[in-house]
Amino acid sequence: MATIELRQVEKKFGALHAVKPLDLTIKNGEFVVLLGPSGCGKTTTLRMISGLEAVSGGHIYLDGRDVTWLHPSERDIAFVFQFFALYPHMTVQDNIRFPLQAQGVAAAEAEKRVAEMVKMLRIEHLLKLRPGSLSGGDRQRVALARALVRRPAAFLMDEPLGALDADLRESMRAEIKRLHIANEATSVYVTHDQIEAMALGDRIVVMSAAEVQQVGTPAEVYHKPANLFVARFIGSPGMNLIKGRYADGVVHLPGEIRYQVPDSWRGTLAESLKDGEVILGFRPEAGLLSDNGTLTGRVYATDMQGAFTMLHLALGDETTLVDVRAERWVDYPLDALVRFDIDPESVRFFDPRTEKALRRGKAQ
């Protein structure tokens, strides 16, 4: 059990920032996901927490103790990588037991902890096998068991599902979450996959270009993205973002669409926008098909995605496309005119100059 605190932690390579000064407190038992595209600094951040990478500045505290300059082995942290590093010549059982032997845990105690761990991960039947004969998913289960059996204060995972097939990823994702619920080990998890981040995280740290863009619960980053990057990155597809111009309670959108701004937003828009330039955002499911809808688009493509249909609509010319999620049975021919409204509770506005979200009630 551990609280991890990062205070102004940064990493520079020469003049280049791999991670800009970052403050983050990970609570005891919390599952925090570092999410972002490749090169955003998420893995470097994780490696600094583990001690595999030295910080260029700032401090890292584990339960209030400054561990910034402690060796990785002195930090009581376990690490799981994308590629399962198992000893090929040892059986699964020996692989899992190995860290306990290295720590000098008594044989009977080690036996008990290995048994607990294999039960939790449902790999009892694999104990006598060697890693070479296991499937990818089973190997990753063994790697997880080996990391967890130590009962580390904190558990760091770097894209542990990245190398697995889609269906296996889905089931292993659920397994990692179950494991966390059972163990309540403080966990930091790195991924570029926003679905994984949403599914697993108590909180998500969205990173881009060496900087934290937003820290929030899945609901917060999804419904109240702090900026355009987060709005686009979270969600599959991301938030619809349309350039427009605000004047007198109306946002003028491409295709001569006049969007009536909900009353609760008017003050904010009038105060925050210098020249009226604004970006309107809404999630695909906040687009509501309606015969009397005030917004119109032409069907650019329709996708049946199994449980639902996604409509891709062109507003005005084909340079502005929006996605609207509809019931499974909805189907339109190409170029059909479709009317819709935006759920007024779900509409968002962004300042195109700062790229930041406008917040109701306070101008930014």
């Binding site: 595209p37 097939d165 889609a166 269906d167 889905e170 089931s171 994702r173 659920a174 979450k177 179950r178 619920i181 996959d193 926003q194 679905i195 949403m198 599914a199 697993l200 899945p218 609901a219 999804y222 419904h223 686009r232 990155f233 979270i234 969600g235 599959s236 597809p237 991301g238 999630r283 695909p284 499911e285 650019y300 493509a301 996708d303 049946m304 995605q305 199994g306 449980a307 996604m310 891709h312 496309l321 999620r325 190409l334």
Partner: protein
């Protein structure tokens, strides 16, 4: 007109049989997707159609004519690969024009200009024509690769996982664009992928390939609603379909290891034991639901949440819109949409009810 048919194609390499009696036909203007996991034989199928690989048995037909002996260059097919193979030192224009400048084709220069311009318009890369391809982003490069196939005006486009190397956001937008282009140009296309979302969203029809055999051919709706086997049922749909062992007791359907009891579907003979399939969207939590279970896991994805509900020894996965108000450990009541259930024999094949 371009109609492509495979009749009983078998392909054996030294020790392995890559394709076993594969037959399907691609209609003129159709977007046909070959879906299957790695190693299913998808790429081999493409290579047989292109003539890059000679089949051991069976025939390839173009417009009703057997073309088994036609060399690749005369088959008039255009390949688009996962790895874009562009000439880095040439401009985008010259890359697009390259296939037309082949001495075999002898296309006049003004016709080349016209066709390149047309392809660039379709793909919206007109502004890139003078740029060197080495300065392009991944998405732009893949557009140029597509353009190089389009200028050839081939009989059929053969696309081998062309979106797989792109990041998730780019893949989504290019997928929509590719579909739009195909629908407006009516180009006959065979698209290979292991990604079920790509298959469902783009295809007119899908052929599911597993271990060198065709498991099912149908529209995305057929494949999703009437999967022929448990393999197909699990291959399409996210989250995956629930598959639980079941049997009948006195006219009631009993889910093994759980208190779940359902009325037996009428007018059908179910075997002694079978597998019951329920798509996650057909389990619907409701305060007055008929069944009850305990919530053991919540995965909030934003647009929907995945709930894992434990019912006796079985765990069912269902989806609910938005962020759920349920909490871990809650008792959840739910209904099951009866007429959307799937039944499979122990060997994995579908039981039609």
């Amino acid at each position: 007109m371009s109609h492509v048919a495979l009749q009983g194609i078998t392909k054996r390499f030294k020790t392995v049989t890559a394709l076993r009696n594969v037959s399907f036909d691609i209609r003129d203007g159709e977007f046909f997707v070959l879906l299957g996991p790695t190693g299913a034989g998808k790429t081999t199928t493409l290579r047989v159609i292109a003539g890059l690989e000679q089949q051991t048995e069976g025939h390839v037909l173009f417009d009703g004519q057997i073309i088994d002996d036609l060399p690749p260059a005369e088959r008039d097919v255009a390949f688009v690969f996962q790895q874009y193979s562009l000439y880095p030192n040439m401009s985008v224009f010259d890359n697009l024009a390259f296939p037309l400048r082949s001495p075999l084709r002898r296309v006049p220069e003004d016709a080349i200009r016209q066709r390149v311009q047309h392809a660039a318009d379709i793909l919206r890369i007109t502004h890139l024509l003078d740029r060197k391809t080495s300065n392009l982003s991944g998405g732009e490069m893949q557009r140029v690769s597509l353009g190089r196939a389009i200028v050839r005006e081939p009989r059929i486009f053969l696309m081998d996982e062309p979106l797989s190397n792109l990041d998730a956001k780019l893949r989504e937008s290019l997928r929509v664009e590719l579909k739009h282009i195909q629908k407006t140009q009516h180009s006959t296309t065979l698209f290979v992928t292991h990604d079920q979302v790509e298959a469902l969203t783009m295809a007119d029809r899908i052929a599911v390939l597993n271990k060198g055999r065709i498991t099912q051919v149908g529209t995305p709706t057929d494949i999703y609603d009437q999967p022929a086997t448990t393999f197909v049922a699990q291959l399409v749909g996210v989250p995956r379909i629930n598959l639980v062992p079941a049997h009948c007791e006195d006219g009631t359907l009993v889910v093994a290891d759980s208190p779940l009891r359902l009325a037996r579907p009428g007018s059908c003979d179910l075997p002694a034991t079978f597998r019951l399939g329920v798509r996650p969207e057909h389990i619907i939590p409701s305060a007055d639901g008929e069944f009850v279970g305990q919530l053991v896991l919540i995965e909030p994805l934003g647009v929907e949440s995945i709930l894992h509900i434990k019912v006796g020894g079985a765990t069912l996965v269902c989806t609910v819109p938005g962020m759920t108000h349920y909490r871990l450990g809650d008792e959840v009541r739910f209904n099951i949409v009866r007429d959307r259930l799937h039944y499979f024999r122990e060997d994995g094949t579908r039981i039609q009810v």
